[in-house]
Amino acid sequence: MTDTGAYRLVAIGASWGGLDVLRDILRDLPAELDAAVVIAQHRSPDSHPTAFRDLLGAVTHLKVREASDKDAVRPGTVYIAAPDYHLLIDSGSVSLSTDEPVLYARPSIDVLFETAAESYRDRCIGVVLTGANDDGSRGLARVVELGGRAIVQDPETAQRDEMPRAALRAAPTARVIPVAEIAPLLVELCGLARVAV
């Protein structure tokens, strides 16, 4: 198992009720976080083009952007999956696709997690939050299989518990914690970048 401080990619999946929880987590992450954060949140393709990004960006010190094809994955930066595209991780950069939705979802959390796991392996963390379906469960199992860490929002505290419960069935070794404890754990697992002198 990888040492504390060695994780370089945090992949987060959220669906129903995700916005508030994501804001709570990002608010508590420092700008020096020594890892990149990638987020797949289910949302409507018709939603306002920048509203979601702005709502997250307003509460956090991290840079927040909607992922464009072939963007380099950099620490201290949050990449959000654009609605109606899958977001995939490909050795150090993101890759987008318009392939068919997977289990009705595009972006698919499973697609993000599986490609993140295969690219970052034991330096990857998968986080499953509130949601009313079972997207993310296969991907989280893959994260664990390749030596990464799994974190699941405590279903008792989730607005919708179907997604965290499905994730726990697929990845029983996942850490189950309330939202307030997620950011501190991520900081511990990823560490902080040394500030250049």
Partner: protein, 286 residues
């Protein structure tokens, strides 16, 4: 004598290495046997699609699929359909078409004749949408659209111009949001087999197979539309195809990309002026 196996891939990680090797061999095999070059496609999404075919053919592994592909051209044909993702729709991204009307059409009006290349047109929905737009703007008669794709099967369907009836409600909404000036239902007849689009919409369209990876340019154009195709290529290949587009564009010609694509990293950033950042419309300025 027993053979010493140095590296026995049993772990998930070992399997992953083997899979990467298998994918490489598959793409090499396809290229050498059939001439299709997928070697520089973005590997992560390519791998997912290859696995879909592995499962459908019950090939077990990617190496298993390679064996089938090499000996059976029909498997290759089916794989080709999987590898060229053909998802598309009419007036996809309505705001793009609205911007095209507003920012590109006025320039086209000043030309006696316009050539447009739709590269990677898939089953043609984008081309029919463009024809409708140009007709409503009164410049369709002096336009020729060259619609190309690597995949001849989808081109065949594009020529027929029959699209699923159950999509018409979504397309009608898109059409309205794209600034459509008539009633969308004027453009098709509802038949048993689907919505049959007005033949006049293809009068000025030339459908032709063209492979962006291996074929050269075949003309110069005032507009090139290549939306949601380049995301399937790796960066090196993207750069080469961008050079092809640059060479094929007239001065002040327009390049239109998909919403999440851009000309960053291509070395051609300064050759274009950003006409609309959100809609990824660029004008060639040098």
């Amino acid at each position: 004598m027993a053979v010493q196996v140095e590296h026995q891939p049993s772990s998930a990680e070992g399997q992953l290495e083997t899979e990467t090797l298998e994918l490489h061999l598959l793409l090499e095999g396809i290229y050498r046997q059939y001439g299709f070059d997928f070697r520089e496609y973005a590997p992560v999404s390519l791998k997912r699609r290859v696995w879909r075919r592995v499962q459908a053919e019950r090939a077990g592994t990617i190496a298993g699929l390679l064996a089938l592909v090499l000996h059976d051209a029909e498997v290759m044909e089916r794989l080709l359909l999987d590898l060229s993702i053909n998802v598309t729709s009419m007036f996809r991204d309505p705001t793009f078409y609205a911007a095209f009307r507003e920012q590109v059409v006025p320039a086209l009006r000043t030309y006696p004749f316009t050539r447009i290349w739709v590269a990677g047109c898939s089953t043609g929905e984008e081309v029919y949408s463009l024809s409708i737009l140009l007709q409503e703007e009164g410049i369709y008669d002096r336009t020729r659209i060259y619609a190309t794709d690597i995949n001849e099967t989808v081109l065949g369907r594009a020529r027929e111009g029959v699209f699923p009836l159950e999509k018409m409600q979504e397309y009608t909404e898109n059409y309205i949001r794209a600034g459509g000036k008539r009633s969308f239902s004027e453009y098709y007849l509802a038949k048993y087999e689907g919505a049959l689009f007005d033949r006049a919409l293809t009068d000025n369209v030339v459908w032709a197979p063209h492979n962006l990876v291996q074929d050269r340019s075949f003309n110069t154009f005032n507009v090139i539309l290549c939306r949601n195709v380049l995301i399937y290529f790796d960066r090196a290949l993207q750069t080469r195809v961008h050079q092809l587009f640059y060479d094929s564009l007239e001065r002040l010609g327009i390049l239109a990309l998909g919403h999440k694509e851009s000309i960053r990293f291509t070395g051609l950033e300064s050759a274009y002026q950003e006409l609309n950042m959100q809609e990824k419309l660029y004008r060639k300025v040098q």
